[in-house]
Amino acid sequence: ITVVKSGNPHDADIEDNDFAEFEDFEDGVEVLEDEDRAEFPDDVEVQQQKEGGAEGEDDEETTIENEDDDDEFEHFTDEDEFIGFDKGQSPSSGKSKDKLPNLKMTEVPGHLRTNWDSFYMEILMLAGLAVYFLNFIHGKNKNHKLAQAWLQSNRDLLESNFHIVGDDGSTKEAQAGTLMKESENVYALWCSGRSALEGMLVELRLLKRQDLISTMTNMFKPASDQILVTIDLDKNVMDKFVFAIAMKRSCAKLHKEMIDLSQFTEKKNLDKYSDMPSSYQLLSEVGEASNALLDKKVCQVLTKFEGQVEFMHFSDQFCGAKSQDESQATKMPEVKPVMIFCFNVPGKGKSKPTDMEQMKPLLQLVFYCLEKVSRLQLGKEARNKSEKNRKKAEEQFLKAAHSQLQEAAQLRREEKRRNEKERIMNEEDPDKTRKWEERESRREMKRKQPKMKMMKI
């Protein structure tokens, strides 16, 4: 379609308004369809040429106009000035299509404001905290129920044996029935007021059911709740011996960690005790004491409650476990006679309050052993043997402490000599320094001389 623009044929008087040029445009535009063109091919071409010519004149006019402009910028197209500049090529047509940089539009999200579901990590975190808190409440209540169940089922036996049961020592008057809560999974009961002992501490070391992580580790590595009974005996009630019977899995650890067991006892086999279960191991210092303690009744209880009695440790030289740091103590550790019993609650971590009630016979075992130990009197020979062991242990200790004291003295001496040397070096008076050097060399000579012994004939 060729658009032919025809001028204002009648030279009509054009009002001077803003839309003047559009008026011409609306009247005169004729759209020549192809068919019309066939009828007047020449005229149209002539007209086009005219227009072309007219345009050309216009161009010329415009070029005339341009000519004045070009002179002004002539020096830009001077080939001498610019190397590689081709006069014929117009700057605009120089760039071919393929050199145009392909602009990659980056994806801008529809709108920058986020909505709730993009906070999925935060929701996960909060959910984890909620689960942890719920498990904390549940575990705490479960532990509390287990501890109370143990106390209720053993209260009458304890009250028949002790004057004070459940005293936390916080008030002047003795309390009763207080189960002290050390933490969410450790409860303690202190009883005192009985002959032959100062006090008995029962520690209920339950599993950490309140901690989700421990609960999950217990699923993979099952463990059981433990009850640790520690009796502080009176002085001179217990004869001089150290004895322990433990499950094989904890015997090695006990033998290595406990100072008194590692110093005084050795591993003994249990063949001569006919009805003793094979999963136990004996650590004994005086055979006579072990025979007296592992009587028929005790062996039956250990057989019946095999696995529930973890270990029994009786010792008059108890001073706790070995300390972590290697430094040798310079003072003899304080020893005291104790009886320690460790029981496992049945149920392997899934214990119920009824399991706690079945632990009553084991508490009776504690009192039975207490009576036996307080009545046990060693024979002369056994007592001499244990006295000798204690003396030997004391000497070993003093020797170790002595060597440590010697090392400390040596260090102090060297420190003193170094200070003296520094003082002399800073000394201005040459005589003093010479005298000091002579004294030092004489001392060195005397030290180097071989030590000769004078033989009196």
Binding site: T114, S118, F119, Y120, M121, E122, M125, G128, L129, Y132, F133, F136, H163, I164, D167, D168, G169, A174, M180, K181, E182, S183, E184, V186, A188, W190, S192, G193, R194, S195, E198, G199, L201, E203, R205, K208, Q210, D211, I213, D232, D234, E257, G320, A321
Partner: protein
Amino acid sequence: MRVNQQVLNSLDDLVHIGKKRWTKLAKMLDRFLYKPPQPGGPSDDPTPDYMNLLGMIFSMCGLMMKLKWCAWAAVYCSFISFANSRTSEDTKQMLSSFMLSISAVVMSYLQNPQPMTPPW
């Protein structure tokens, strides 16, 4: 009046036995106070202290380096340390570790309200 020596001895024995019984009876009424276990002993559980320390470190990282997952980890550490804490432990320590970890979370979201990007 001469009292038979034997009678005297038996009286002494009676007194002696009585004394022994009496001391035994007195002992029964003796009250020995409970000595709580020393902190740091072998039976002492180190978990709450370690978790407390870890919580403090995570809170510092959350605050200084504006890492959101560190701040959340600090909140978890405070919770675990609270769950395993001993009743004898003072509550101020527990409260300060909670406050520090929660402030780390709040500050990291105030500075950059965008959702958290997991560390992996």
